[in-house]
Symmetry: C2
Subunit: 539 residues, 2 copies
């Protein structure tokens, strides 16, 4: 099996043995254009603030370079590869023609013709309008997203295109997630996966938002869902059928076989999202297994047999992680980013030195508590205009004290999310960690102590690519379900970190103070005022 | 005139021309023993935490070295010097025999025999007991100190001696401020000045705290006031008479003339405190002239013809700054100390670079507001267990943003003090700045904008020593009053910094947020909890 993870700056391919998930070889391709944020390649056309684009050519280059290199590194014959699975950042979305040609290949000097990367944030005004209108109309899908959709998602980004570049909008016969576009390139067949349709496309209870709703946003937007609705797998009259996760999207075309060096006709799995597919890599796809992918930010993914409207979650989608279960997503806007910010701007020492000093301390010895809102709050407040707070500093406070307090603040934020799920009737049975922050054992121990529960740890440092290979194994028919494939190929160490009773008790006292700060600052009265003053003052 | 300023680490002498205050020459003597914090000189006896002592020999050395050097530097004949004035840190206090011999010269291996420097903070439990008892008994003097006396003051330090070293307490025939002890050495005559007696000795309405009160603290403490009460200037039967500021304490003895090289018989002014005497140096001794001596901390000194119980002031003392007026004192525990702490621990750049970056910003552009309680809050909350808070940080926050927010926070703290005085019926007519922070014009402009009033600036960088010379001129009869001497010799630039209307308006919005933080955190619920957790956790 080959799994391919399309990230923000690069794509990674990994070759995985079907029967036990052993990772035999991998390769990385750095995108030539990286993130396009200031000007368009070739034309040099300038982009506005908060724009972030990618080039489809970079994605194809991953198929052409990283995949064959990974196969070579694994030392297996290409013919032994029976399937390929992929995952992508999301919502990364692009306009294409009816045959899948990206509009940016036709009009490369038009910014709106390019794929909008997940972190393109220039559609906030459009998201605000969508949210306001949905709340006013009481749209039934809104509570499935914690009461607010993101500016990163399909409808907000498309509305921006419509209003700022109506000609591009008109030419866009398709508005498609890169997760699905790459599958189209591999198979020659268009499909739409349940995961991105649900989490990023606001697809709920068998439908997209209604024409009436869209028309109320902008009359020209009324028919927008038609650009999304071409589910090739089992289209039903009058409805939309999406492709199930772990399903077979199609077979590798001759052209794609030429790019990848893999056998024509190999199974290609339905597209998926990096965070969601990681659950399979961690063998954590059963109800109540919350997988926290902890890196610059943290994404929480959890299947459940309970449907509930959890305040501040990013979304709940039927079959959104594995078929047959509700899939929940929540998140913390900034985690590793906070530590990096502190080290880069305020720490003479690096992460290792600060960690080494911080871990010697007893719980609470620094006298500090912080709110982890330096990048806003995704869950449970869903408010990107919040900001960070550090409380309790004295003239004796040292950088390692603040560093430790910042680590702890993100653990309190995680506990707030877990508790909110449980209070809403969605039990969290196991907390499973994946992602880059696993490399800091001190940080992991803080999380175990703060959460008062054992942490499981994924057994791979290329979780998304491994997860994509698991999905490919299901699509190829090697396993009957994601659960069984994950059980055989996924890697998880249970109780990799176990809470210490005394430290956990000490953290309870600090967490109580965190909650008081959460209540006081969470209404945004003060932090929104500071943000507004800041924005008015900026030259 | 010679003015001598006895500081924390050194003593400074300055020679000043009587008719216009011109500073003709000065010299500094660094104390050999500096601050004695860990072990006693000679014996090596270890000291406990929060101890801080000084050596009387260092003070005498200032008279022997700095005074003749200043006279030589001024190029004046010693015979031309007609008077000498001094000021001291306070409450710096020592036990002596009836002839003024410091007990530490008899038993140098006994810690409690040494002078306790103002920042000796090991008597906090004793201060707490004094405050609790005084509040329970409704002692009339307590509101004169904002409702709480400090652990730094005479009674707390003496109670510590009594209970920890009763033999030292018994041998101490006198318990005397260094401000008065140095006058005793110069004149051979014991006196007690109104200023330290009132601000540090809790002398109010003609008496010290009652025997009943002292006995209730500890029966052995009942007669303590007798160790303070030997006012040589005009002792009255059954009462205590203190020496008025600007008064003539006595004449220079032959021995002191030998030390200083000054003429025997020269006038010696009554002792005084560094902050209070600075008012004279700034020619700011009229009602409503608030002098802020801004350095590592800030001390606010203001004469007034109004008596009021201002919440959180450090003290109000009749004739405490100049005869005939009430003298108010308030303070901010840490000001320059906060900026130094930040630069030393969190700033790759120094003060100048951070100031240069910060001053380019518009008001509020950093999006931050901070509470300036990194060293506790002296006024208006009188709570040393409070700590600092920084609100509004994002991943884009830079060190210069925090640096500016910290400067602003101290300006908000100053505004809170000014407003509290005015709300209590004590008008603040003019805000006059003295001290080391005057060297930062950006910081001064922030204060002008935040306070919404022009700032006056002292015209000397050796304010205390100049102020002592002004007092000496009065004591020598060159002027009939401190007011007139200050008018001729003091130096003040009015409206050295003028508020900008637009910036002042912008700061009003941020100050409103500061006040909300002040309300939320000022009750100490959270910050005391964090402090308690910290203290329990400390290994």
């Amino acid at each position: 099996m080959v799994g391919v993870d399309f990230g923000t700056l690069s794509g990674r391919a990994v070759v995985v043995r079907v029967h036990d998930g052993a990772e035999l070889g991998s390769a990385v391709h750095e995108y030539t254009h990286r993130v396009i944020e200031t000007e368009l390649p070739g034309s040099g056309v300038r982009l506005g603030p908060d724009w972030a684009l990618q080039s489809p050519q970079d994605w194809i280059d991953v198929l052409r370079t990283a995949v064959p290199e990974a196969v070579a590194a694994a030392g297996v014959a290409p013919e032994q590869v029976i399937g390929i699975g992929t995952d992508f950042t999301a919502c990364t979305v692009l306009p294409t023609t009816a045959d899948g040609t990206p509009l940016c290949s036709e009009t490369p000097a038009e910014p709106h013709a390019w794929p909008k990367l997940w972190k393109h944030h220039a559609a906030q005004p459009h998201a605000d309008r969508i949210n306001d209108l949905a709340a006013r109309r009481g749209e039934s899908w809104l509570p499935r997203y914690g009461g607010r959709i993101s500016s990163e998602w399909e409808f907000a980004k498309a509305l921006q295109v419509l209003e700022e570049a109506p000609d591009v909008y008109a030419r866009a016969e398709r508005w498609i997630e890169a997760a699905d576009w790459i599958i189209w390139q591999l198979t020659g067949v268009e499909s739409r996966n349940i995961c991105t349709a649900g989490y990023k496309g606001v697809f709920q209870d068998g439908r997209y938002p209604s024409e009436e709703f869209l028309a109320a946003l902008d009359p020209r937007f009324a028919g927008f869902a038609a650009k999304l609705a071409t589910g090739q797998v089992g289209d039903q009259a009058g409805g939309v059928t999406l492709a199930p996760l772990g399903g077979l999207a199609g077979r590798l075309t001759a052209r794609a076989a030429g790019w990848t060096g893999l056998p024509q006709g190999a199974a290609v799995a339905v597209g998926n999202v990096d965070a969601h597919v990681t659950a399979a890599a961690a063998d954590a796809v059963r109800p109540g297994q919350m997988v926290a992918i902890m890196g610059t930010s943290t994404c929480h993914i959890m299947p459940s047999d309970q449907l509930a409207e959890v305040p501040g979650m990013c979304g709940v989608v039927q079959d959104g992680i594995v078929p047959g279960l509700w899939g929940y997503e929540a998140g913390q806007s900034a985690v590793g980013d906070i530590f990096a910010w502190f080290v880069d701007s305020f720490g003479a020492d690096g992460h290792e030195q600060l960690t080494s000093l911080a871990e010697k301390q007893a719980v609470g010895q620094h006298g500090l508590v912080a709110l982890d809102w330096f990048g806003g709050n995704r869950s449970v407040l869903v408010d990107h205009n919040l900001s960070g707070v550090i409380v309790g500093q004295t003239l004796a406070t040292r950088p390692e004290d603040v560093y430790r307090a910042l680590i702890e603040s993100t653990a309190y934020g995680a506990r707030m999310i877990v508790e909110t799920f449980e209070k809403s009737g969605v039990p969290v049975e196991e907390f499973v960690v994946a992602g880059g922050l696993l490399k800091n054992p001190f940080l992991m121990q803080v999380y175990a102590d703060v959460l008062r529960r054992p942490l499981s740890a994924i057994g791979s440092d290329q979780g998304p690519a491994l997860g994509s290979a698991v999905h490919a194994a299901v699509a190829a028919g090697a396993y009957p379900s994601i659960e069984e494939a994950a059980g055989a190929m996924g890697k998880r160490t249970e109780a990799a970190y176990v809470p210490d009773q005394a430290r956990a008790d000490a953290y309870d006292r600090l967490y109580a103070e965190y909650r008081r700060l959460h209540d006081f600052f969470g209404d945004g009265n003060m932090l929104h005022t500071l943000r507004a003053i800041r924005n008015e003052a900026h030259p």
